[in-house]
């Protein structure tokens, strides 16, 4: 009785939600196939073409529309996201590992770490830029000051993911390893790490994606050379052409590829985790 009304209603809700989520992307995709170079970012489509995709890679004859200045920004952003991912994940795993035992002041340290994702990004960015400029007196760069803000921002996410994973971790396998004469570091490499790897993957994904499209912190802290989100924003200020949309489609596809790799790696390690769960079942 209840489900006859509730189920369709919830179904409709989910459908609307998905439409809302992917609607912009669909519009973006359609417009990216607009004719060029005269066609603008509006309906109707004058003629379907891949002009703007070719434009991004410089394969079109020169026109009044300049190619997107994204090449270096993209490389910068990817490098920055990668650096951030590595550092935040390593820090996240290490600090979550430390929190497995209670230590003096662990409560305070916990909140200090988590604060990094709570503080408004604009404030962090502004603060770091003031600190660098006026107090320490160093130049701002995407790989120094901006990098630091990215780590401060993504590290709490990696930390929380790893904390959740390690909370459920049955430490008797580590003790078993020690009792076989294997030292704690080798035990971590050969037992703990393979078993928490799904969590490490998730932490890496979080750190990478959060860093890749970080805007407010980077805006103030990155100095002269722009990252991709800043570069995209910069082009909005002039005039919008469908090449931005084509670029958006390409980056989205890139994200999907990234997610697929994540999914495959995850499925591989989940199979391992299942074995672990099965072992716990017989307790």
């Amino acid at each position: 009785m209840e489900s006859r009304i509730l189920k369709p209603a919830l179904g409709l809700y989910v459908a609307l939600f998905l439409l809302f989520l992917y609607g912009p992307f669909v519009v973006l995709t359609i417009i990216s196939f607009q004719q060029g170079p005269e066609g603008g970012p509006q309906f109707p489509i004058i003629e379907w073409s891949t002009y703007w995709y070719r434009h991004i890679f410089g394969l079109t004859p020169p026109s009044r529309i300049a190619p997107l200045p994204f090449g270096e920004a993209l490389l910068r952003s990817l490098t920055l996201a990668f650096m951030t991912m590595v550092v935040s994940t390593v820090l996240g795993v290490m600090s979550a590992q430390a929190f497995r035992r209670k230590f003096k002041g662990s409560g305070a340290v916990f909140y200090l770490i988590v604060l990094g994702m709570m503080v408004p990004g604009v404030l962090t960015g502004l603060g770091v830029s003031l600190l660098a400029n006026n107090i320490i007196g160093i130049e701002r760069h995407w790989y120094t000051t901006a990098f630091a803000t990215h780590v401060a921002y993504t590290f709490p996410f990696a930390f929380l993911v790893m904390l959740a994973i390690l909370n459920r971790f049955d430490s008797s396998v580590e003790e078993a390893s020690w009792s076989l004469g294997v030292d704690p570091w080798t035990t971590f490499r050969k037992v703990t790490f393979p078993l928490i790897f799904p969590g490490v993957l998730s932490a890496m994904l979080f750190a990478f994606t959060l860093s890749l499209d970080e805007f407010p912190r980077t805006l103030f802290a990155s100095g002269r050379d722009q990252t991709l989100p800043l570069a995209i924003y910069g082009t909005f200020a002039v005039e919008i052409h469908p090449n931005i949309f084509a670029f958006g489609v390409l980056t989205t596809l890139f994200s999907f590829a990234l997610l697929s790799v994540y999914g495959i790696l995850m499925a591989m390690s989940v199979r391992r985790a299942k074995k672990m769960a099965m072992q716990e079942d017989i307790e």
Binding site: D170, E175, W178, S179, K190, R272
Partner: protein, 367 residues
Amino acid sequence: MRPRTTGEVDLDTSVFRLDGVTKRYGDLVALDNATLDAGENEYISFLGPSGSGKTTLLRVIAGFEAPEAGRVFFNGKDITNLPAHERGIGFVFQNFALFPHLSVIQNVSFGLTHGKSGLNAAEIERRSLEMIEIVGLSGMQGRGVDQISGGQRQRVALARTLTMQPKLVLLDEPLGALDANLRGRMRNELRAIRERLGVTFVHVTGSETEALAMGDRVVVLDRGRIIQIGTPGEVYGSPASPDVAHFLNRFNLFEGKLAKGTFTGPFGAVPAAHAVRSDRDIYAVRYDRMQAVDPSAPVSGPAIRARFVASEYLGSSVMNFFEAGDGHVIEMEHHLSLGAPQTFEPRQDYLLTWNPEQAIVFGREVA
């Protein structure tokens, strides 16, 4: 080297020794001044209810927990501050704690491969396969640990520990996860392995039958204290305290008062020539020493009137349950080798009687 306390003389005969080991978790005293000596090639059972500190004691010996006070000696050395991986003491977990991402042989060879054995790969494989054969898992070395049964996992856990050739192996209720049939078989196998390899086993269990069956010596723990150490015969025949008698689950315990060689309980006054010193006055009669007769029949010894409730058939014996006036349940075991069991009418009263010389009396006042 730190100054040593007493008892260093006989270190050469003992494999491990505990000296006043105390461990607290906040206000909870998990171990209170535990002192114990274990010889070579001995099988020791730790018996106690959950929360008695038996697992904590095992974890202190293994080096997973550090005691607040007291010392632990192993092979003549003070290992109290030695980390677990440098102790050379094997540990078999209740949940087996196999490495789920590794195969059977990778589990078994783990310690030799990643520890300080210094052996080459061929030698490690030879030894691991040999141990897999000893525990009866030949042909399964390539399987994942999720592809074998509970009993087989238990053997992998054991083989993994034994390949390291430790002189001491700690077993934390390793048979608890197995069904009764498998448990019996594993018991025999543990004995056989031990005789073959000459290892000292310390086995923690909450099952009194397991402790009595497996141990050369039984150590009874209660609330963090060791309350009796002895052979199974000694512990069973003369429990040191009412608590021990209670854990053995083989005694009817009656409260009462011991004064001037007479115990006064719910069954009246009974002469008690010998009494074991205790903090309470308790009269204990083994289940299989009880007899039930018709209420009108004459009895020579002490007797208590009780109503028959139910009986349980246990294969080799029958357990009868009676209820005395105050709700106290009295159990009576009849071994079927002694003849067919009596049949009792439900809700009928009977007289339960026993030979007072076979009873054990605990009391504050000892003649």
